[in-house]
């Protein structure tokens, strides 16, 4: 009897929901972006509200664009393409809805808490710990729904887009959890478990790979599905897509330290970051060319089809941004560009050009299909494209010019390199003001274009009937890969690990660890073992190469083993960077200088500094560069931030570095500066923090904060809550008295007093006892 066919309907409802959320949150995120960009030119644009300052809104902008706009777009694209690639409906309607509503609740929570100043003080990881837990939970829901769908698939082979999605789900989970490990001090506040250099390294391992695995790999998966569909021809080279995937996964995870070049980060880590960043050129451009060449033979459609216009421009911007990234990772280029607007331009070429245009192309392709209605206006979509393109070009060109100008001015010296050519930081700020204005115009144009798309979509779907895609499958066709003819290709747990490639890799990795972390004898044994493993692997491959390739073939149709090996690939890169630093970053290992623990009042001030997002404009890291040292003082040592939970090295200087601002100015200078920055620094664009002269310092929170700091290893005595409060009040009285003598009447219980106490301690450290060893002795010799 011939098999009967039935119709299987896809769950496109959740795709439509994520798609609409993309539009809504995209507008919110970009609107806040334009506002914060305008605030840099017009400081009054915070409307005298402490909730709308640059320091509080900038994290809202970045989080909204990354997690709300790109996140929702990514989920829509993944859910749409996965169902069709594996020929199965999403496994669970409930999980799909939980995923959607959970994610929107998280975004809403972020939009409320960030302006309130509830933050962890780490870039792109600002959300407070209860929201972190919610993010992890919803991500797991997403993962379960996705892998459950794969388990029920009717198509055994995994298209390369699915590979990229798997890498995204696994790696983002790992990065997010590690970088958000915290010890709470209250329901809305916590300290990260990593401090100082550990925190810096973990943060940029996360930060860089958030770009890699949240903003890049899922979008590449979307590219490999939607561009072939849009041009109606297969990807240009499937071989290249395979190389693209594995090389990105293996290489990207190592490149995080390039965000910390010329700082006090150990040299080997900086070199590691530079090396792997440069290696990224090859896979990134391979993928970019693969995307562009997929459109071969369809270039004529670009004149009329807005979908292809957006895709072609998006892939081009991907190429541009991934050329610029490794370029900026070269230490000498980085010395010029780091902390300037060049980095902002680079990021926005990727976010607006690559992510934003891929989102637009995907939305214009999907909407007519999900609502079964022609797009309201192709002309409007074309206008959107040109507004967006001109907007990006204005934005990026302005930021390049601004960044290079400011970098050159800040680094310029005279008198044979002994004197700064522009000693006043504000000279450089006022020079780049026209570019900052240009950036607002460029961003504004992009936002207008995006709003046109939202309007276009609204007009398209108004009165339209949503439709779900469907396929015909055999009624008696069993669900799951085991039912497929290729079921004999299953690997199983044993087959995943007990095979030549994995066995030799694990062996080599184990010996490498022994070599690097072991004692003298163990280290030697590890080195010999590693060399033997490599030789044996080569010999085995030469003699039994077929078993190696057979294993790889089976890997391509087995989700679990494929996922496990992807985890190992990204895990290795992360662990090798982080573990040595976590193990060695202790006070007993320090040489030269060691930070003094903050007094209770200084700690309260530091938390205010973090609350206000001061790190979004001020770094606390004087690089090992002559102009930095001439401008800000002696270069920063690792030990000087060893008790900083979280670290505050910063990544952008809209204002000067503050690593050694302590005791540089009298207390009253800080008070006047915070109250009205322009009364002290004419031309400053810093917002006023007059509210700190009114609000009271939360001393009641200090005992639990100090208790957590003690758990983290900060050597505080076992003070009672009364002792902590008394110490804080005594110090506050001293600061307030000094202010009074200088003519400023401020009550000691005000936030400004704690903030001044913190600022005045920056850069004050004590000498550490040098450990005994050949390197230490050699360093003491002339």
């Amino acid at each position: 009897m011939p098999a009967q066919k039935i119709t299987l309907e896809f769950n496109d409802k959740v795709v439509r929901q994520f798609l609409v959320a993309t539009l809504v949150w995209g507008i919110v995120g970009m609107l806040v972006g334009v506002l914060v960009a305008a605030q840099l030119s017009f400081w009054r644009l915070n409307f005298k509200s402490e909730y709308l300052t640059f320091g509080r809104l900038r994290p809202l902008h970045t989080n909204a664009v990354i997690f709300a706009f790109v996140g929702n777009m990514m989920f829509a694209g993944i859910y749409y393409s996965t169902q069709r690639l594996v020929r199965a409906r999403l496994a669970s309607n409930f999980l799909s809805q939980l995923h959607f509503w959970g994610w929107q609740t998280i975004i809403l929570s972020a939009a409320i808490t960030l302006p309130l100043g509830l933050t962890r003080g780490k870039e792109y990881a600002e959300l407070i710990w209860p929201i972190n837990i919610a993010v992890a939970f919803i991500w797991v829901v997403f993962g379960v729904n996705f892998f459950w769908t794969l388990a029920r698939r009717r198509e055994p082979s995994l298209y390369v887009a699915i590979w990229f999605y798997i890498a995204t789900i696994i790696t983002v989970a790992m990065l997010y959890i590690v970088n958000h490990l915290s010890l709470p001090t209250s329901f809305t506040h916590s300290y990260p478990v990593f401090g100082g250099v550990q925190d810096a390294l973990v943060q940029w391992w996360y930060g860089h790979n958030a770009v890699a695995f949240f903003l890049t790999t899922p979008i590449l998966g979307i590219m490999y599905y939607f561009i072939p569909k849009a041009v109606e021809r297969p990807v240009y080279s499937y071989r290249l897509s395979v190389i693209h995937f594995w090389s990105l996964v293996f290489v990207y995870i190592w490149a995080g330290p390039h965000h910390l070049l010329n700082t006090s980060l150990p040299e080997w880590l900086q070199t590691l970051g530079v090396t792997f960043s440069l290696m990224l050129w090859a896979p990134s451009w391979g993928g970019m060319l693969n995307g562009l060449l997929t459109m071969r033979g369809a270039w004529h459609k670009l004149r009329t089809d807005p979908v292809l216009k957006f895709f072609a421009a998006a892939v081009t911007f991907y190429g541009m941004a991934t050329f610029e990234g490794p370029l900026l990772s070269i230490k000498s280029v980085n010395a010029l560009a780091h902390y300037t607007d060049w980095i902002i331009g680079h990021v926005h070429a990727g976010a607006l050009g690559w992510n934003g245009f891929m989102a637009a192309g995907m939305i214009y392709w999907l909407v007519p299909r999900l609502w079964n209605k022609p797009l309201h206006s192709t002309a409007l979509a074309n206008l959107h494209f040109w507004l967006g393109t001109v907007g990006i070009l204005l934005y990026v060109a302005a930021m390049w010019t601004s960044g290079i100008t400011q970098g050159l001015m800040l680094n310029a010296t005279i008198e044979q390199g002994t004197v700064l050519a522009y000693p006043n930081f504000l000279d450089t700020l006022n020079t780049i003001r026209p570019m900052m204005l240009m950036r607002v115009i460029g961003g504004g144009l992009y936002l207008v274009g995006f709003m046109l798309m939202a309007w276009n979509v609204y007009r398209t779907v108004r009165h339209a009937r949503p439709v779900n895609g469907s396929i015909e499958v055999f009624a008696d066709e069993e669900v799951g890969v085991e039912a497929h003819p290729l079921s004999n290709a299953r690997l199983g747990v044993l087959g995943t690990f007990f095979n030549p490639p994995v066995a030799f890799s694990v062996l080599g990795f184990g010996f490498a660890c022994a070599w690097m972390f072991g004692g003298d004898a163990m280290s030697l044994a590890g080195l010999v073992g590693l060399m033997l493993s490599v030789v044996l692997a080569c010999v085995h491959f030469e003699s039994k190469g077929k078993s190696w390739s057979g294993w790889y073939e089976r890997l391509l149709v087995n989700v679990a083993p494929f996922t496990i090996l992807t985890v190992i690939a990204v895990f290795a890169g992360g662990l090798i960077q982080i573990i040595p630093t976590v193990l060695t970053s202790r006070a007993s290992n320090l040489e030269d200088r060691k930070q003094r623990p903050y007094t209770p009042l200084e700690l309260a001030g530091r938390d205010l500094y973090i609350r206000e997002g001061c790190y979004t404009c001020h770094s606390q890291m004087i690089r090992t560069l002559v102009p930095d040292v001439l401008r800000y003082g002696d270069y920063s040592r690792l030990g000087e931030s060893i008790y900083d939970y979280p670290y505050q090295w910063g990544s952008k200087r809209n204002g000067p570095d503050l690593a050694r601002v302590g005791n540089k100015y009298p207390n009253v200078w800080h008070l006047r500066h915070m109250e009205d920055p322009r009364s002290i620094s004419a031309g400053s664009n810093m917002p006023s923090y007059a509210s700190m002269l009114v609000n009271k310092t939360d001393l009641a929170a200090l005992p639990s904060k100090l208790a957590v700091q003690r758990k983290l290893g900060v050597p505080y005595p076992n003070w009672t809550p009364e002792q902590i409060e008394r110490r804080a009040k005594e110090q506050a009285e001293t600061v307030a008295r000094d202010l009074r003598e200088a003519g400023a009447l401020v009550s000691p219980d005000k936030e400004i007093v704690a903030m001044i106490a913190y600022l005045q301690t920056l850069g004050r450290s004590e000498f550490a006892v040098a450990p005994v060893g050949p390197a230490a002795v050699a360093r003491l010799l002339p």
Binding site: W246, A512, P580, T584
Partner: protein, 66 residues
């Protein structure tokens, strides 16, 4: 190795070994990908077209089903 925080010159070896590891993996994958057979590639690259897509419904130029 890695007993102290700042002055560990021998740690530079680590960068070299990491580079060699990544490079060898990259070359292995590239070699494997280049040796993929044509039928296998055709099967993979046509996976997006196994599920029919409704017609492109742009108002100017409706395209045929894929």
């Amino acid at each position: 190795m890695f007993k102290r925080l700042i002055f560990e010159q021998s740690a530079a070896l680590f960068t070299v070994s990491a580079f060699l590891t990544a490079a060898s993996i990259y070359l292995s994958i590239a070699w494997r990908a280049l040796r993929m057979k044509r039928p296998q590639i055709e099967r993979f690259e046509n996976l997006p077209f196994q599920t029919a897509t409704p017609a492109a419904r742009h108002d100017s130029s409706p395209a045929p089903s894929a």
